[in-house]
Symmetry: D2
Subunit: 358 residues, 4 copies
């Protein structure tokens, strides 16, 4: 279950305190120029230590591509890659060995597997998302050649929330915000939410909004392979995600059909599209050519300095307060991960869509 | 992409106006008593024509099991099944052949496949969910023997919404409500929403809440196979679903970690559980033994009597008003479908969970 | 595990003495004219009762397509189908319930599942191959439009064996032989083998040779998805198959590279092909445009009138002699099944091959 | 298609002249002591340069496990691993860039992907099998704890062939032979075949026989997932393999049922087994508790010093003679690879077999 996708597939491996994290991208089309700098920049965007608001760790996180590329082109063979874990402090994790951190996977891993990697987050560490970002960056190299772009941004942190619906923002507007919120005033409100949580030794959740622009009509499969079902599985598999909605999402539950339905209209050039986009670019599970719009909800990260009640492996009550480095809010760093998952799903379904005609 | 699941798998087929809808359940454990009446009752719950609020069609929808059962027991072999489409009126669907109904899959199917079954909903018809319900009922027969129960109910229709969080209701409380809302006063408000929509020739959306009770600790896989990611894919694949959230879901985005985290505590008998359940019974993608709680958002059904703007296959503007029989709200009928998808995911992961020890 | 294929997929169900055998073909390309007579003729070829040499059962075996076809064209939706089991004699199978027939799956099913369908062959019955033949016939409808043809014939029965390598025979030459051996003299020798076995209350094995003609260069995937590995899995999954070889197969083990290697040459029109075809049309797991040639070995069918030693469920020794209707040799009837499996693999890989370019 | 298996899965990557070959083992059960020396010894067995008969390359081929192991135990998380390609000579491969080597995958890769890695064997290199051997060794660590052992040996090289059927040999008898033939006289004959081929600048094929001992009854799935079908796919996917047979295999085609069928008998202790084993330990696709016996045919390796006719990329005739280091016979080195594939299939089906009971 560490493989994701149908035709374009990512298999990932690695824990925070093992030798490396990495993966294998299978199904990469052949003949694509592989821009390693592009991949590295994508990785840099998810890297901690990017601002005063995030964890002060400094990790180089240089990706090494091990196969599948020759003379700068993909060969169609699997692309193995890894990022070494360079910053493994020799600190003592034994205090975590015997305690179940609230909202963490300690308890469930221990019960399921009979043992767990208690050093840092183990397989549950956010370092696992490195593989997702590499897989997404490689997919994006193909998508760009088809005119498909993906852009995500932070639309809520704690009680600070952007108004209105999905909007396509310039990359600079997003990246210039320390929380990746493209509206400066809202960005400041969100920063305040993060700072307040940091000050209180606490953490805070948020929402990432994402748009896939330029999708051709026809991605997605009827019934179980609906495009938005695959997107939901992809995004829900990211650490700390608790909700997914396409287009109007939960708001559609309160709506009437007459207000929700998107009327079809014709362009002057004869192209059919919809006048509104409450469906979020997907009809019957298949992309309709409009922007695919979706939102992803993140819970507050579980690790807080705040003292908490919990139990040890024997079930005895203990009090726990986290030490060390922790983001009070992962939402800004999650933005490139949300994009990466969307990129992999989109390429996978783009390739699949070629198999429906004789 | 008409197959769902890993070990316990449903492959479905059928359109609203073909000969039959049906499917194949593969991976059914051997030696399970197969209660055909139980399966039929599950089907009856999703059947239209149950009340004045739903479509007046009368379909017998008798399921026939074709294989995989001998002397009343499952044999471990695939269970083929079908339900004949008995109520195919010989009505003229040609008016739908040339027009794209707003919010329907007409346009995307036509573009993707070059043709589409324009008779009724085709493969997009809600009759497709018959296969899901049969697959879910067979799964439930196994889950019950493990003490696992699944219960869903309508928690919102239009502007009428239940307060508070998830709650386990008696089946009778749910089934005695025509909208499957177990709180009588809220049920009446929801009925009013449906009736108002019906009167206006309109439709209305809603939310189904669901609880999986009795899950052992350990269902779900790290990274891409998280239990709630699989649940999300399952539920998002149901017609008209637009959003999914686990536990607190989108509400967690506004929360602090100190409020969200679920403290571990020990029972007097030594069993470890959590004092609260904001995580919805899943930690790190693996069930923690608490109730698995989730909510599913449905958009208003696209077919309305209300006249709408759209285009025909040539892109010319036309006005469309639906005739015939249509539910103004599918949420009540969706309750057993939400349960069925949850049952299949749960059994699939229960079987998978046996493979992690040497 | 009752689903076969990646993109073009067959899910099958059914036992010899249940209500029906059937399946679901998923991934059928859209817009293909569906010639039901063609499918029925394919079924008729596998049907028992075709000659004095085969079992005298008469089964109509009419296939019913339940979905996925409209106005004579495939819609891209799954094609559910079934064939009713009309000839289930009400005979008493209780004598088989308590005994393990030698070379049958009775013992392994009983041990694995804790029970088994002891009526006739259960899921192990040759009737299961009905689904394969339907899946293969539908695939062939697509392959024919690409100029790909598949032809198999009996090349050995018992000690009677054709000389020389693979050869493309006219369909009439094959079908006019009661054992489906296209060389009349060899056909008579093979018939004698079957008659001798029949007379002795015994059975006899054989070999089917098969050619896939017109494959484009490029079907197959490196490493685990090699074209001949997929073919091998497909053919080895057929009842009674014990061996598979591609091209020269086992004979290549005794050969030198200088004799085995197929030199590349150019046609006058510039097309590159090979002067010989010891590799059987597959290089590195990928079709090279030459005929794909392979052979499939069948063991003698286990059910014989000859008295045999075996044990009952308690392990006590018993003597067993089969009554009723049994083919002494299934090889002739296996010819269309070998073709069907090849057709499904070929179409699956043809569709997959479209996904390797950006 | 670079992933193999259902529950226990190997994803592999790497070319002969890239940075590394490696893979990810997913589904490794948790809590298994990981003996890295055992894995390394398995790798050493497949390594070239082991004798005067094999290529004189010296490659350290040290495996590095990157994840999934803590304190010497598997954690249930994916095990990423790699072996660096240390011996990449900076030699000029440009002469291979423009020519299609006979019996190689040059032509098919170039046509399928539009480009190919022409340095050495690229993805077709035998170095790819490193990942298979690591995956097989990890599987064997689990199988040993269940009392399951796998042993393969060379039973034919060129015209030198062992007589009689399958036999279980001591590991020392096999490993003390330079061709891995456990019978000294036959070993000498086989060595002579290899030496003669070497002297002639030629290559020669062979057969590997393999036994899986200690399999419980019940591994394998009916219909498409038959145990021997999965084995066939596994072994046929190995470079240069051209044929697979289970038990008597192709010999069974000439046999009568009365001679072929394996009578069931009871042990004094009541255990049911078969008096003979012509079926090779598999009945109806499911292991019956007897030795699983199979044979794998290898063609002569394509690269020979002997001058050969071929064409260049433009289709012009050229003469080619290979330089450099080449095994005249890969069969001895293939023995551990045959075992590795069998180990992965066996563990995969062992884990799967736990899912058939409620």
């Amino acid at each position: 279950m560490n493989t994701f996708g149908n035709i374009y597939r990512l298999t990932s491996f690695g824990e925070s305190h093992g030798a490396a994290v990495g993966g294998v991208v299978d199904g990469m089309p052949a003949g694509v120029p592989i821009d390693v700098d592009y991949i590295q920049r994508a990785l840099d965007r998810r890297r901690p230590g990017q601002s005063a608001l995030t964890t002060p760790r400094r990790e180089a996180d240089r990706v090494e591509l091990l196969s599948g590329v020759m003379d700068g082109l993909s060969t169609g063979m699997p692309i193995g890659f890894l990022v070494r874990n360079e910053n493994q402090r020799s600190r003592d994790y034994s205090e975590l060995r015997d305690v179940y951190r609230p909202s963490h996977a300690d308890f469930t891993y221990q019960q399921k597997y009979g043992l767990r990697d208690y050093r840092g987050g183990g397989r549950q560490s956010a370092r696992e998302t490195i593989a997702r970002v590499v897989g997404g960056a490689l997919a994006s190299l193909v998508l760009r050649s088809h005119g498909i772009e993906i852009r995500a941004y932070t639309s809520q942190i704690g009680r600070a929330s952007m108004e209105g619906g999905y909007r396509w923002y310039d990359e600079e507007a997003i990246e210039s915000s320390v929380v990746r919120c493209p509206e400066p005033e809202k960005s400041r409100e969100m920063e305040d939410e993060v700072k307040a949580a940091l000050k209180d030794g606490d953490s805070v959740g948020g929402v990432v909004s994402c748009i896939i622009r330029g999708c051709p009509v026809g991605l997605g499969e009827p019934v179980f392979g609906k495009f938005h079902a695959a997107l939901a599985a992809a995004e829900m598999s990211v650490n700390a995600v608790r909700g997914f909605e396409i287009g109007e999402g939960f708001r559609s539950s309160a709506m009437r059909g007459s207000a929700f339905n998107d009327p079809f209209v014709s362009d002057p050039d004869g192209r059919i599209h919809t006048a509104t986009n409450h469906n979020g670019g997907v009809l019957g599970g298949i992309t309709d050519g409009e922007d695919v719009t979706f939102r992803v909800a993140f819970k507050p990260v579980p690790t807080i300095r705040h003292e908490q009640d919990t139990v040890d492996l024997s079930g005895h009550s203990v009090r726990l307060s986290a030490h060390g480095r922790h983001d009070p809010c992962v939402v800004a760093r999650a933005v490139p991960i949300v994009e990466a998952m969307a990129a992999m799903v989109t390429l996978d379904y783009l390739l699949l869509s070629r198999t429906v005609r004789p």
